[in-house]
C-alpha cells in the first residue's frame, strides 16, 4: 500500500515531481561543481604559481661563497665544489617525486666571445632545456622550459644533445647576433639557434646545453646548482620545526607532508654532498597566496551550498503545501500522522536520490568544463563525493520539507478537504 501510494504519486503528478526534481538536480549540480573545484583549486593555483619560478635550490654542501653581481659570475670557474650530474635523476626517486614538476641544473662558466675581431668576456650558462630522462620505469622531461616558463625565445630552443646556443637579448644587441648566426666562443664555432628574453641577468649571457659548459671548464658531470620546482603545502608551525628535534610519529608526519622544508630535506638525502634550501621569495609568498585563494574558494563554496540548499528546500516546501487536500483525504480515511509523514518523507528521499544522481553527473561535467576552460586541465573528482552529496541532498530535502509536512499532518481534514486555509 505504502509503495503504491508513493508510486502513484509519482505517476500522476509528473509535472510537479519534475519541477521539484529539477530544483534538486540544479542544486546538486552547483554544489558538486563547486566542491570539486574547491578541493582541486589549491593544486591548480599551485601549478600556476610555478610560473614564478623554482622554489627550491640545491647547492654543493661545502661550496665557497657565490661571487655574482648582476648575473656576472666573478668566481674562478674551478673554485668551489660541484654536484654530480649523474645524481640528478635521483630527484625522481624521492618520496615526493610526484610533486616535483621539474628541475634544471645550472653551470655558469666564463667564456670569451670573439666577433668581428673584438674579444669580450661573457658568462656561459649551461643547463637543460627539455632533457629526456629515464628513472626506473618512468620517462620524464625536465629543464628550464618547465622551471623557468617566463623565458621566451625568438628562434628555436636548442636541443640538449646539440652544441647550439641561445644568446641573451641585450648581449645579442651588443654583438649584433641573430638566430642562425655562427659565433666563436672560447675557440669553438657555435650555432645560435635563438635569442633569449628573460628580463633578468640571463639577458647578458649565453645559454647553452650543460655538456658544452662542462666541456669548456673541462669538468665532465659538473653542476653548480639545481633549481627544483615543487608543489608544496603552505608552511605551518610543524613545518618550521627542526626535524632533528622531532620524535618518531611527529617526524613521520613532517617527513610525509609536502612542506618546502621536508622536500628540501629529501632532496638533500637523495643527492650526495648537497645542501637544499627553499627560495624564500618564492616559497614563502606562495604559501600566503595559496592560503588566501583556498580560503576564498571555500567560503564561496559555502555560499553555493547555502543557495542550493535554499532552492531545494523551497521547492520541497511548495510541493508539500500544494497537496493539502490529499493529506485531508488520507487523514479522513484514517491515516495517522506518522503514516502521512512517512509517505512525504519517502517521496522526498526518492526525489533527492534521483535528483542527486543526475545532479552529480551534471555537476562533475560542469566542474570538468570549468577546469578545462580556466585551467586547461581536468578537475579530479573523488568518487567519495557521491555518497556525501547524496547524503546532503536527502538531508536538505528532509529539512526543507519538514516544516511544511508538520503543518500538513496537523491540518484538520475537514478544512483541508473544503479547501479552506
Amino acid at each position: 500500500m505504502f509503495v503504491r501510494l508513493v508510486y502513484e504519486s509519482f505517476r500522476r503528478q509528473k509535472r510537479r515531481k519534475l519541477l521539484a526534481g529539477i530544483a534538486i538536480t540544479l542544486g546538486v549540480t552547483v554544489a558538486t561543481a563547486m566542491i570539486a573545484v574547491a578541493t582541486d583549486i589549491g593544486d591548480k593555483i599551485n601549478r600556476e604559481l610555478r610560473t614564478i619560478g623554482a622554489n627550491l635550490l640545491v647547492t654543493p654542501q661545502d661550496d665557497t661563497l657565490d661571487v655574482e653581481i648582476g648575473g656576472v659570475n666573478l668566481k674562478p670557474p674551478s673554485d668551489g665544489a660541484f654536484l654530480d650530474e649523474a645524481d640528478l635523476p635521483k630527484i625522481e626517486g624521492t618520496f615526493w617525486h610526484n610533486n616535483i614538476t621539474g628541475f634544471a641544473p645550472m653551470l655558469p662558466v666564463n667564456a670569451t666571445l670573439q666577433r668581428g675581431g673584438q674579444k669580450q668576456d661573457v658568462t656561459l650558462l649551461g643547463t637543460y632545456f627539455a632533457k629526456r630522462f629515464k628513472f626506473g620505469k618512468e620517462d620524464f622531461t625536465t629543464g628550464v622550459r618547465t622551471t623557468h616558463p617566463w623565458w621566451k625565445v625568438s628562434g628555436d630552443w636548442p636541443d640538449d644533445d646539440s652544441r647550439d646556443i641561445l644568446v641573451g637579448e641585450r648581449l645579442a644587441l651588443r654583438v649584433s647576433a641573430k638566430p642562425g648566426d655562427t659565433i666563436t666562443l672560447s675557440g669553438r664555432q657555435l650555432h645560435v639557434s635563438g635569442i633569449l628574453l628573460t628580463g633578468g641577468a640571463e639577458d647578458d649571457m649565453v645559454v647553452a646545453p650543460l655538456s658544452l659548459a662542462q666541456e669548456i671548464i673541462e669538468k665532465p658531470g659538473a653542476v653548480r646548482r639545481v633549481y627544483v620546482s615543487a608543489l608544496t603545502k603552505p608552511e605551518d608551525a610543524l613545518a618550521r620545526r627542526d626535524p632533528r628535534s622531532l620524535s618518531g610519529a611527529i617526524y613521520d608526519r613532517w617527513y610525509c607532508s609536502p612542506y618546502p622544508q621536508s622536500i628540501a630535506h629529501q632532496l638533500q638525502e637523495a643527492i650526495p654532498h648537497s645542501h637544499a634550501e627553499q627560495i624564500r621569495q618564492v616559497s614563502q609568498n606562495e604559501g600566503a597566496v595559496l592560503t588566501r585563494i583556498e580560503g576564498l574558494i571555500y567560503l564561496v563554496t559555502l555560499a553555493a551550498l547555502l543557495a542550493s540548499a535554499l532552492a531545494v528546500s523551497a521547492s520541497m516546501a511548495t510541493a508539500v503545501f500544494e497537496r493539502r487536500a490529499q493529506v485531508g483525504l488520507m487523514k479522513a480515511l484514517g491515516a495517522g500522522k506518522l503514516a502521512v509523514a512517512s509517505v512525504f518523507f519517502a517521496e522526498a528521499a526518492l526525489l533527492a536520490l534521483l535528483g542527486g544522481m543526475v545532479g552529480f553527473v551534471a555537476g562533475s561535467s560542469l566542474a570538468q568544463q570549468i577546469g578545462r576552460s580556466i585551467f586547461n586541465s581536468e578537475v579530479a573528482i573523488a568518487p567519495v563525493l557521491l555518497p556525501v552529496i547524496l547524503g546532503i541532498a536527502v538531508f536538505v530535502s528532509f529539512a526543507g520539507s519538514a516544516a511544511a509536512i508538520r503543518r500538513a499532518v496537523n491540518l484538520d481534514p475537514v478544512f483541508a478537504l473544503r479547501g479552506e486555509l
Binding site: G70, L74, G295, I297, T301, A307, L310, F375
Partner: protein, 362 residues
C-alpha cells in the same frame, strides 16, 4: 486602495509572504556578496602578490652606475604608489683573500620591500652589517667583528644580524648605504621598485620612472609580473563562474517560491475578477506586489550581502571589503526582474480560467 490591498495581502498571509521575502533576501544577499567579492578580489590578491617584492628594476644604461640623485627622483615619481630600495654592489676581499660580494642598501626600505627575508636583527648603527648565513660561516664563524678590504681601503664591521633567503643574498654582506658610499665611493647601481596597482598602473609608473631618470633603464621583473597576471586572471574566471552558478541557483529558488505563492492566491485573483476588476488592474496589482517584494528583498539583501562580503574580507584577507554601491542597481534590477517573471507565468495561466471554476475549487 491599491496600497491597502498590497499591505493586507502581506499581513494576512504572513507565513507565505515571509518565506517568499526570505528567499528573496537570501538570494539578493548572496548575489551582492559574490559581486562585491568579484570586484574586490583582484585588488586584494594583488596586494598579496606585492609581498613577492620588486616588480620593476631600474639600472644604469649599458652597465653604468646610476646618477646620485636617482633614488630621490624615483621616489618623487612613485609618490605613494610603491616602494623603492637602492642597491650598490662591489666584490671585496676578506683578510685571508677570499672574495665576497658586499652590498650597500637602505635597511628601512628593504625591510618593507623584501618581506620574505628572514632576518635575525636589522642593523641600526653605522659600521654594523647584515651578513648572509653562508657568508657568516666563512667570514666570522665566531660572530665577532671582521674586516673587509677593497682596493687597499679597509672597513671594520660588526655582524649585527644574519639574513637567510635561500638565494644569492645568503652569500652577501649588507651595509647601510652611507657606510657603503663612504668606504667604496661607488653609487648605487640598481633600484628595486615595488609598484602597486593594476598592470596598466604599473606600466604608467614604469613610463614615469623612465622619464624621471633619463640615464636609466627601467625593466619589469617578468617572472613576477607574468605569474601575477596568470594567477589573477584564473582566479577571476573561477570566481565569475562560481558567482554565475550561485546567482542562477538563488534566482531559481526565488522563482519557484514566488510562483508557488502567486499560484496559491488564485482565489484572491478569482474574487477580484468576479467583483469586476479589469485585467489591467489585476495585472498591475500583482506586478506592483512582485516589484515591492523584489525591491524590499533586494535592499535588505544588499545590506546583508555587504556584511557577508566584509566578513569574508576580514576572515580571509585581514582587510575590509568596501561596499560597492555600483552593485546595488544590478541587484535591484535583477531582483525585480526575477519577481516579475515569477508573477507573470501564473497570472497568464490564471487569466484564461473562469473565476467560477477557481472559486469552486476545481
Amino acid at each position: 486602495m491599491l496600497v491597502r490591498m498590497l499591505v493586507r495581502a502581506a499581513v494576512l498571509r504572513r507565513g507565505r509572504a515571509a518565506s517568499a521575502l526570505l528567499a528573496m533576501v537570501v538570494a539578493a544577499a548572496v548575489a551582492t556578496a559574490m559581486l562585491n567579492l568579484y570586484v574586490d578580489v583582484q585588488v586584494k590578491l594583488r596586494r598579496e602578490f606585492r609581498s613577492y617584492g620588486a616588480n620593476l628594476i631600474i639600472v644604469g644604461k649599458d652597465g653604468s652606475s646610476l646618477p646620485a640623485d636617482s633614488l630621490s627622483r624615483a621616489e618623487s615619481a612613485l609618490g605613494r604608489r610603491g616602494i623603492a630600495a637602492p642597491f650598490g654592489m662591489v666584490v671585496a676581499r676578506t683578510n685571508d683573500g677570499q672574495p665576497v660580494v658586499v652590498a650597500g642598501t637602505d635597511f628601512a626600505r628593504v625591510q618593507q620591500l623584501d618581506r620574505w627575508w628572514s632576518v635575525s636583527a636589522w642593523p641600526a648603527e653605522p659600521q654594523q652589517a647584515l651578513v648572509g648565513v653562508r657568508a657568516l660561516a666563512v667570514l666570522t664563524p665566531s660572530k665577532g667583528p671582521f674586516e673587509l678590504t677593497l682596493q687597499g681601503r679597509t672597513i671594520h664591521l660588526t655582524p649585527e644580524g644574519t639574513v637567510q633567503t635561500g638565494a644569492a643574498e645568503d652569500s652577501r654582506v649588507y651595509l647601510s648605504l652611507s657606510d657603503f658610499v663612504a668606504w667604496t665611493g661607488v653609487q648605487p647601481s640598481t633600484i628595486e621598485v615595488q609598484a602597486n596597482g593594476s598592470p596598466e598602473d604599473v606600466d604608467a609608473i614604469m613610463r614615469h620612472l623612465a622619464q624621471a631618470i633619463p640615464a636609466a633603464e627601467v625593466r619589469p621583473v617578468r617572472q613576477i609580473v607574468e605569474g601575477e597576471a596568470r594567477v589573477l586572471n584564473k582566479m577571476r574566471a573561477t570566481l565569475l563562474a562560481a558567482s554565475m552558478l550561485i546567482i542562477l541557483t538563488a534566482g531559481l529558488c526565488v522563482l519557484s517560491t514566488l510562483m508557488g505563492w502567486v499560484f496559491d492566491r488564485r482565489r484572491d485573483f478569482a474574487i477580484m475578477k468576479a467583483l469586476g476588476g479589469s485585467e489591467r488592474i489585476l495585472n498591475g496589482f500583482f506586478a506592483a506586489e512582485a516589484a515591492a517584494l523584489g525591491a524590499i528583498g533586494a535592499l535588505a539583501g544588499f545590506v546583508l550581502g555587504v556584511g557577508i562580503a566584509a566578513w569574508i574580507g576580514r576572515v580571509n584577507f585581514h582587510a575590509s571589503v568596501e561596499p560597492r554601491f555600483g552593485v546595488l542597481p544590478w541587484v535591484l534590477a535583477g531582483s525585480i526582474g526575477v519577481t516579475l517573471a515569477a508573477a507573470i507565468v501564473p497570472i497568464s495561466v490564471l487569466r484564461c480560467v473562469q473565476p467560477a471554476v477557481i472559486l469552486r475549487g476545481e
